[in-house]
Amino acid sequence: MFTAGADNYLRQAREIQDEELQKFCARIAGFLQQLELGSETVDNLQRLYLVASATKYGKKLERMFLELLQRVLCAPKVSLQVQVLCTAILREVSPYDPFTLSCDQIYDTKLLSLVFSILLAQGCNNKALAIGNRIVKMMESRLPKGQSLRHLLPVLSKLTSVFPASLSDDQTNLINKKLVDWLRYASIHQGIGQPSGGFFSSPRTKLPGPITEVDGAVATDFFTVLSIGHHYTEDQWLNLQAFSMLRKWLLCCGTDSTSSTSSDDKSEVDGSIMSMASVASTSSRLLLPKERVREKAFEYCQRLIEQSNRKAVKKSDADLQKACLIEAIIIMDIVCRQDSSYVYRAVSFLKIVHARICQDLTFAQALLPIAQFFLNHSEMAAVDSEAVYRHLFTRIPAELFYQPLLALEFIHFCRTNARFFNQNISVFQQSFPNLLKFLAWNGPGLVSDFVEFLPSLIGPDTAIEILHLLLDLPCLTAALELQLRSQSAPASERVLIDSALHPASSVEAFRHSHYKNLFQYLLRCEAWPGDTIDGRFHLLRQMLVDMAGCPRVTQCIETVPVLLQLFFKVVAEFADGVLINQLVAVLLDRSGLLFSVPRFQTDVHRVMSSQLLALCKLYPSVIVEQSKELLEFSGTVTNIQNKENFFTHVVWAIGEYLSVSYDKRCTVDQINKFFEVLEALLFEITQLRPSAGVPKSSPRLITVLMTTLTKLASRSQDLIPRVLLYLSKMRSCVQSSAMISMYGEEDSEDILNRATELMNLLKMPTVAQFVLTPSAEVNNVRYHRDAIVSLPLAMRTVSRLLQKDSGFAPG
């Protein structure tokens, strides 16, 4: 593949000095002037292309030399290889003005196409447009022998897409007429092949046979790109080119803005141009050229769709059938958008097509344009397309989640139409568990698209279930992996195991009767209206841990934190008190029920911690409303293990928001209850634990607990003596040799300092309350800047007073 030698060439090409390059060009110029275009020249031109293209900054070549290349390019009897090389070099060199390059004298269609690419790359828009005019003129006239328009249609297509308004109405009409001919009236007989010229072969070639279908049957209708012949005639080649450019053409030139109402352009439905007199009398039957293109495009698409139903002999034709089916449906959609009189015909036709391709998953990709079609037109046609969406959303993600292209197009489709679906299609709102399969499987490749799409799935009714799904996304990935493996496993390994024995691995669990329901729940296609947490579900999470090493699961794990952040950002925009209560309950609950991969848990806990605080800030009453759950959570010492970070945040939130200033319902009794629970906890982790040899808690948690106790005490002042006593106990405890050996001198000192500071504060309860429970105004910038009202001032005053009183030296 790419070898050291190649790497070396590339480096040389990049590092070539100007002087050397000029010499090299001079040598090539020598050959070119003599029109010596043999292998040595070709070899040198190939290298020159490499030099011209290998660097970001263009290489400057001398003007004379560039003109020489242009002359050679346009000279007669130059091989296509040399022409291609000259073109590539002229396209790649540093921008120059190819003013001597003119298309006027070029009659060779292939050369014209090459010249066009240079002009486009060099930004010579006017000259490129002139080529467009040339091409239209050539369409009207007879081309010299051996020349074909088919090389020029891609040029035309490119021109209309780069410069949409470049063609005049007359030119557009002419092209429309040609397109009609090429699409609808290409020959249905095969072309005549080049005579082999053998000595014994008959000089009279056989009459060309008929065109066949992809399955070998003789074609019964007009020629399309799905028509097979051994040799193709010129108009059949143009049929191919015309269909290939049709969608773009309709989009660019099919709308009414470019319409021409000149009656000259009206023609009879069946072809020949009519006289002015007859136009007036039969105007109802007459169509403008662009209307005729629509008509023929529609017929062409109908035929293609029918042809895509045939069983192709060749695999590549079967692939083409799929691409054609998709293209045809999209073109029908465009035609219907431009002219609604086609809608009825199209709807009834596509209903049948839909019924057909629903049976065959290999055509699944075509379901998206069909759904888009019904979405655009079913209202007008007054048909119910619920079945189309239902099939799409319930079956396709579940069965074809592993196809990357389908996944991307599916998500794009949902994203584009999310607003409509959310308002109108209940099955869409229900199918988010299914849509998440795309994400679970295609993780990193799809995540940026999903990030755009996810917000439209999250609503008050779905938020809680989506949160659970995101938290269990790695489990979903693992289950999908098992599902795929099991599908490809031999039948004997797929039978259900119905045994009392506990499965030994997730692979076994996948077909174990005990786990059947759990897997069904995880792999569900629609939202689960009941209780989303099955107590037994954690069994499955634990069972799936042996899949944690699977790279796809690892990749999924990396995407979850980002998605969670996004989830909370979206939820914050509409969440009310009820939802925030539910969310906090889920966080408390799920912090201990996660796929057990340490890195995953750490990352998720980090997000949970920051989001818990954000939710509390949004709705501080949640602390009072969830007090039962919070008491239970913070009173359980085992909750510290593995999720200390989250636990610390919960404790902090209690200290911050359990206050009558946030919620009038907050009672002294409640504060006392929390105080007792946290006090007992702090006692347990500092004074019992060290001797029990249980993992130590971080100094951060200890200081946060002390601070929280102090905060609570400042709000229920009967507690102050108790906390003062406790803090002084803490001070002596921290100084004990057992604690110092456990925490080290530095950390012990920090804990000691914090205890001292808190004690100092509590000596002046009003100040303590002011500092520890500041009013909401504390967020105001003025609070921190203004020397008279600022918090720092208050702190300084306290220190000074204390200093005077007791001789404590402030830090």
Binding site: A4, L10, K56, Q81, S316, A323, D449
Partner: protein, 196 residues
Amino acid sequence: MVHGFLIHTLGCSPSGDADLTRVLYSQTFSSEAFDQAADLERVRLLRKEQMLAVARHVTSACILTRQALEKPIYEVVSPGEETVNLQDAEFGVFSLAPGDPFHECKTVLWLGVLSLGFVLICDMHDNLTLAEDTLKLIVKYLIEHLRLLSQGSDVILKADKTETILNTFLPHGQLLFLNHQFILALEKEMNSSMSK
């Protein structure tokens, strides 16, 4: 219409430098900065940088895909191997949001064959199913004509062959609905022009 095509290394150079993505060939069929009277030198630079950005993106996408499929990240050709089964090559697709690095939204289809990435950058209205078939077709001819499995340097030294293959099967970025007989006819035409 297809915006561009490129061939690049998948972050593994023969000298063993990892994380090195090199664009070996690129063609942009249309420039985005056309209507602005932009400095052409800058347009060219921008075009090259966009291509490199896409190549880097594809490299990481390909590495992730290979990891997910539990395949080795850096594949090497076993000596004497003359063909490669494109069905086994890693295929992927992702979209690029507007402004990063292209002005408009693009969809990137890529094929990872051993140490090389082959990429089609498609516009919004391109038929992606057809683009996938076209990419595979082009790669098949590239492997054959540039002797990618045996000759390492043809891919950068024989750009005319790459150009001819693109001119034949993706003229000016136009995706073509080619049935197998059209493909055969084009192949014959292409071979005769290359052998001259």
